[in-house]
Symmetry: D2
Subunit: 387 residues, 4 copies
């Protein structure tokens, strides 16, 4: 039967995360060891160490990997709580793209691959990369435009191509590269995923992108692969199934974006509400001016429906349903409605809202990208229309 009650165990865990984020992580938000696109690796490891000490590291990891083994619904609750700080997901090791890569490797990688790449990732020791998007008319919203190729060369493959908006490459341990695979006769046999160390001969970071958002350690870069040699055992899953695996990764990854941003938007709303209760203008606290109060009311409604849509899609995933339509609806709704929440919170704060005096300014920049990545709203609407 329809039920929205959270288990006592989950409530207790959420309480621990809320406390941990408030007491141990939010104070780091003004730590100077954040440059460009986020914390230095030293700071990241310090945050991870705190989460480990608190028993909260990698809640998404199976217990065998030292995690909390949460299902999607429980993840929704815990990831939201972590997202309340811009550093929370990093601390708990549930940041994109690592979190989605974990999920992919757990489902598709060989035991040897899991041992080498997945285990340290789950332990928060490393970071990872998912390299798909290409410049100049290559793969993007329409992945079929994939231009990077993997050609057989003896028992190996040679990868050639150019990618951009590749998140987190500097400082990461490995990348998962999507490439159009050719057979011996040069025939296209479909996209394949390959795992390679992040630094290797043939990998050149051409430039770092300067972007609106700033919540990815390692930032976003443009990278060229020139005869990057990968062996057969670096193939992730089966040859030619790259698009299928990308889908396996994307559905849940979309949901974890919704969860984390829900926490971030809730934070903005809380900051704006507290401000509106205390700031006086025209003779009374500004929350008592309906122009302000209604923005906060709309925030509550948006946060509420986003949370419900997230929980629902997670429940479907927990039932083994792929929830294609529901995760698309959830992604469109959350990226747009939570964006509105952050925008209204900024408006309520007035001039202070556009300064870094609160975290709202940072989240305003970061959340804009949410309407674009993992498929812009337009692609999801198109999927929903044709469904």
């Amino acid at each position: 039967m329809v039920d929205f009650r959270l288990d006592d165990e989950l409530l207790a865990l959420r309480e621990r995360v809320v406390t941990f984020i408030r007491d141990q992580i939010i104070p780091y938000e003004r730590d100077a060891r954040q440059l460009f696109h986020g914390p230095t690796e030293a700071l990241r490891l310090e945050l991870v160490a705190r989460a480990r000490a608190a028993g909260l590291l990698s809640p998404h990891a199976p217990r065998a990997y030292g995690g909390l083994g949460l299902d999607h619904r429980a993840m929704a609750v815990i990831f939201e709580a972590a997202g309340y700080s811009t550093l929370g997901p990093l601390a708990l090791n549930i940041q994109a793209p690592d979190e989605g890569n974990c999920n992919l490797l757990f489902q598709v990688a060989t035991p040897a691959q899991q041992e080498r790449w997945l285990a340290p990732l789950y332990r928060g020791e490393t970071r990872s990369v998912f390299a798909m998007t290409e410049p100049e008319g290559g793969a993007g919203s329409d992945p079929s435009l994939l231009k990077t190729t993997a050609e057989p060369d003896g028992d190996d493959y040679l990868i050639n191509g150019r990618k951009w908006f590749i998140t987190g490459l500097p400082g990461s341990a490995f990348q998962i590269i999507m490439a159009r695979t050719l057979d011996q006769r040069g025939q296209d046999i479909g996209a394949t995923l390959f795992i390679t160390p992040s630094e290797a001969p043939g990998i050149e970071v051409v430039r770092m992108l300067d972007t609106l958002d700033s919540n990815s350690p390692g930032g976003h870069c443009e990278v060229i692969y020139r005869n990057l040699r990968v062996s057969r055992d670096q193939v992730l899953g089966e040859i030619g199934k790259g698009f299928r695996y990308a889908q396996v990764r994307l559905g849940p990854a979309r949901m974890t974006h919704c969860m984390r941003w829900l926490g971030a938007a809730q934070r903005c709303h809380d900051i704006a509400s507290a401000f509106a209760k205390q700031r006086i203008a025209f003779g009374k606290p500004i929350i008592e001016h309906q122009g302000v109060g209604f923005m906060l009311a709309d925030n509550r409604i948006d946060l509420h429906t986003c949370r419900l849509a997230t929980w629902h899609a997670c429940w479907l995933l927990d039932q083994g349903d792929k929830a294609r339509a529901e995760t698309s609806m959830c992604k469109v709704h959350c990226s747009e409605a939570l964006g509105r929440v952050v925008d209204r919170s900024m408006q309520v704060l007035g001039a202070m809202g556009i300064s870094a005096d609160t975290v709202v300014e940072r989240i305003y920049r970061d959340i804009r990208a949410f309407r674009l990545y993992d498929g812009p709203s337009e692609v999801h609407r198109w999927v929903l229309a044709r469904d």
Copy 2:
């Protein structure tokens, strides 16, 4: 734990309602015995008889009263299915204001009052009225402006005042009238609810209102009470607690509006979707033009979040929570989002959308009122802001 599964029993019941509405009720939608604001009493009784025969009458009524004894969550599912036809709620006897009056009488009325007024109402034999709203600056969004008075006269009260937008009076069995109550010294001792037969000396229907909507048998009227005599045993609950009882009635009544309109909006979306798949323009079915397809995608998202918000508030009510904020959020969201769904459906249908060739035109008119009654969006936002 968070769960969205519907019990097999409920699914079976929903299936029966869906079939009943589709096969037995929708065909009546073009029945000529609908004038002004809905079916004649003869037609209404015919619909009720069909529901009774199908074992689907009064799903909200306790089993003791011959109903199905559903909780709020189950009501959400069944009422939505009934709302799929403009005549469905009437057939199942879950139309406003009767449904809300049932709930109120069940909670507050004396056994004698229940025997006399509630039992036949639950059986679908009668209709009823809730008389609160007043013209000319009287009670409305702000009920404290209540002008109608009940003054003691011996052991009785004499009610004087004028009400308008009183729904369903002609043809109904009884009304529940809210009046500001005076004590012997003329002191205001608060609002009180009184039950009176719909026709009695001192009750004069001044005029029928011509309104945009047309889904209330009996329409909306303006009525004058001139020394309407009511005895002590016609007091509903306690003297002076009228506002409190109105709140008891309103919370769940808001939710049942959401349920029924959800079904109506889903109907419009289904009609528009079917049309868009088959109608060709500029070389292909119009659903393949993103301008149309995106409207249908947005409909899906709106319907989805409205359904989830409704289920959630119902779950809270089922836990005994008054769910003040959640029913307000749900009412604002549903009245606005479902209104958009119907509007987009009309736009997709083009010229046909504004004709009575489909039921969309009718629902477009009817649903507009949903943003106004039971508190306009502005009052609910204000409640949410101050919460």
Copy 3:
């Protein structure tokens, strides 16, 4: 140089129209001689007689035809003032489709055709019809789907086909019918416009459509042409140029819709503003609640930008520019923004807004169609995107 000053002469004329509408036409709005889709012909002629007596009839007509010979900018001002009453455009004889038909006949018709059809139309003695839209996958937003045919038969043509949403047919003097024209060998030689009397052998009104709007005398009907015989001198302009002429008609016709609806929306705003200043709730006039005040502020902004966009496109037309993009932008903006103005006005009025106690309810129904006719917003956006 950019100038928004209205000539004194035009201001004086506007003042006369404002006074005329307020004193002589608005009082007719509750005249009982309005059934179904507007005034009876007797009432219409009475209104026209008043405008004639006031020297205000047919301001769009050239002086040679007894009109005021206004250019488009002056029409914008005067038509808006006329649109302030739902009966104003009928009184001044500037209602659709007559106004657009006048314009078309003036540009394309032969002197004999003008003498017979145009002159009495300009004098307000007759009404007329433009018959293009077809059911069941025929001409609509995509006119190329035109199914009605005109086949040569001796010196004549025989028209066969079915049209719907044909406005104003009963009671009108003539129709302009668009038909796909075949040559002697059955080859399609393009769409042609034909003028025929409204009643003739072969014309059958199949049914009247029941529609949301109600501002067209004669309503909207479905009509069948069965071997309707038309002679060569009933061809309007040249054979095969029907689509081109329809464009000639449509550009200015779109603008006159914007003008009239601007007046209607301004009326709704004025009604809502007056109400909001006088209606008390929660301790003060509701206009002082920002939730209400902001709706009225947004109304002002929408009315303002619609007026400016209308004036601008009219200026272009007055320069001989076809203003394709500008009339499309204006049509989309006005139909949507003025629709919002009327919707907000209704919301401000509360329950009264959905009753016929004010004209807002009527305008709310009527203006919805504006987003659909003369090309739905989607078609105009498409034109603008590809431009």
Copy 4:
């Protein structure tokens, strides 16, 4: 009569500005001499020198001051053309707050003050500051909360207080400070404006604010005044008329914001349109997907109505009208509609939109503040509602 024609002279001037911006200024946009909040003073002077050489410097200045002596309508055209580059307004010396300060000084300052402060400002040699906004509950949207005081001390005044979001202070020549003025007995005699050099004993820049926007050389700072001594001849205009003068400054200043942002938003739209025509996805240029095409169509409509509203308010100002309501409507409409244009342009660009590879990312950050400064939308709506 209503006219939208631009004089040949103005068209020629616009053409020169368009060419100048395109050929000489846009290439500087990637100049490395831009840190924090804009160009270094050296770069700024280089840009100014180019405008001077092109005869385009200070188009708003009277001819007596070496400017072009444009009226508001001509400024609308020229400022829009300048705003097409993020560096254009700086080059032409029409950037906020200098441009508004010029206007204020021209109207209110004594000849000696004009000679000392205004003349070099008009010549682009200096920058200036308007210091009104205060932290911690001081002056902001509600200027009556002003806390900074000016107390008489002999023939001088001593200013004490704290201001923030003070734009452009480091590197500027002078500031105009608003302070609550006390008389000898400590009675508040109203707000007064004082002119002081930007560096003087008693002025301490406490910190630079880190903000979302980055288009103000000198950035935004927080500043403390501690017994800042100002003499009587540093009073701008009359004692106690500070609020009145702020209004004098604000009306036209609002309009010049609209003009510059109009150019900036047009730039974003042009970039997005060019991209959409060339970028292929799902088999065709993305502009041919309606999901993208409709965003560009809406951009056109928003740009169009913003331009018309700006021209209209400017025309009123040129007639000597204060245009209170019209400048408020224009400010609300432009800040919101142009914000939507930039947001849609970013969405069309996809991932590239959030990178600094185009100027859209920069403008997206900058334009957000437009909804907040010179009165947030909420204050203007409130003014419009009460009007």
